[in-house]
């Protein structure tokens, strides 16, 4: 490595070797070569001096002392951040759905359960009370037709039964 030849790290944009020199991670042979170059190259010498000043400053830097409960307080804050609120937990599938994620699956399951319950209760509602006979009931025109058809077919099926089966009438 010579200051006047093409092996100058700064001219070849190869500052890594100078960085390693300043970080004291070079092999002894390389250190000798770099130091020989620095004697004859003002630019590299200046650059290396700047780097060494940074390293020196870092060596003398003393971190601020931390409090005794620093770790405990830090872990508590991390836990608080990672624990979603109840609202966030409940709305997570909706937010995932809106963001195009796969959050629709739990929503779909919940929706299907709700729909099944609604349908089941609308068809066979054990809590629905039939109005007593004679109480006001509205009958639509199509319901009259349905009742008429049912009565007609029941009458036909009644006629097909053996007379012995007629326990009343």
């Amino acid at each position: 490595m010579n200051a006047k030849n093409n092996s100058c790290p700064m001219q070849n944009e190869n500052a890594e070797i100078l960085l390693s020199y300043c970080a004291r991670t070079l092999e002894p042979e390389q250190v000798i070569q770099v130091e020989k170059h620095l004697l004859g190259c003002a630019e590299c010498r200046e650059w290396a001096a700047g780097q060494q000043a940074v390293w020196a400053a870092m060596d003398t830097w003393e971190p601020e002392p931390i409090s005794a409960d620093f770790d405990a307080a830090l872990f508590a804050r991390i836990a608080a951040t990672e624990q979603p609120s109840a609202w966030e937990r409940w709305t997570a599938p909706v937010r995932q759905f809106l963001q195009g994620g796969f959050g629709w699956r739990p929503m779909l399951s919940a929706g299907a359960v709700a729909l099944t319950l609604v349908i089941a209760l609308s068809i066979e509602n054990p809590f629905r009370k039939e109005p007593p006979v004679g109480q006001s009931v509205k009958l639509e025109a199509h319901e009259i037709e349905q009742a008429e058809r049912a009565l007609e077919d029941l009458e036909m099926l009644r006629q097909l039964e053996a007379p012995e089966e007629e326990t009343s009438l």
Binding site: E130, V133, L139, I144
Partner: protein
């Protein structure tokens, strides 16, 4: 993809939401049965008089039926509704023919024969219809009609 899935689900829900015809008919009949007489009269006032009278008679008969018989007939109606529409119509036609062509005095015995025929397999039906007693009571056409009715009736 998601929209298509939701659309399919919505259609399936709509299909489920619609009550089956049998349940609709049973509900309509029950509503009609529970109406106050004056309300029923008002509800049926637009019907042609003969049709209305027929419906009122049938409803009255239905109301007077024993619960066990009602239950049995409702079961038969459910089975009847599960038949194909053309088969339902065919059976209606056969019953009309039975009522129109069978002399009134023979109908009671015809119904008894029909009940018995329904319990038999094809071979047993053939034997029963070919028996001397059946031949003495019913004409060829009447026996054919009874056989066809027995085969067409729901369980």
């Amino acid at each position: 993809m998601r929209i298509r899935l939701l659309l399919v689900l919505a259609l399936a829900a709509a299909d489920l939401w619609a009550q089956p015809p049998m349940a609709q008919q049973a509900r309509a009949l029950e509503k009609l049965r529970r109406m106050a007489p004056e309300e029923r009269e008002q509800a049926l006032q637009d019907m042609p008089p003969a049709r209305r009278r027929m419906m009122e008679q049938r409803l009255e008969r239905w109301n007077r039926m024993a619960p066990a018989r009602k239950q049995r007939l409702q079961g038969s109606l459910e089975n009847f509704r599960q038949m194909k529409p053309e088969d339902q119509e065919h059976l209606r036609g056969l019953v009309r023919k039975f009522n129109e062509t069978m002399p009134a005095g023979k109908r009671v015995e015809g119904r008894r024969a029909l009940t018995h025929l329904r319990k038999l397999d094809p071979e047993g039906r053939k034997k029963f219809l070919g028996s001397r007693r059946m031949k003495e009571r019913f004409s060829d056409g009447e026996r054919e009609l009874l056989d066809e009715m027995a085969q067409s009736m729901p369980d």
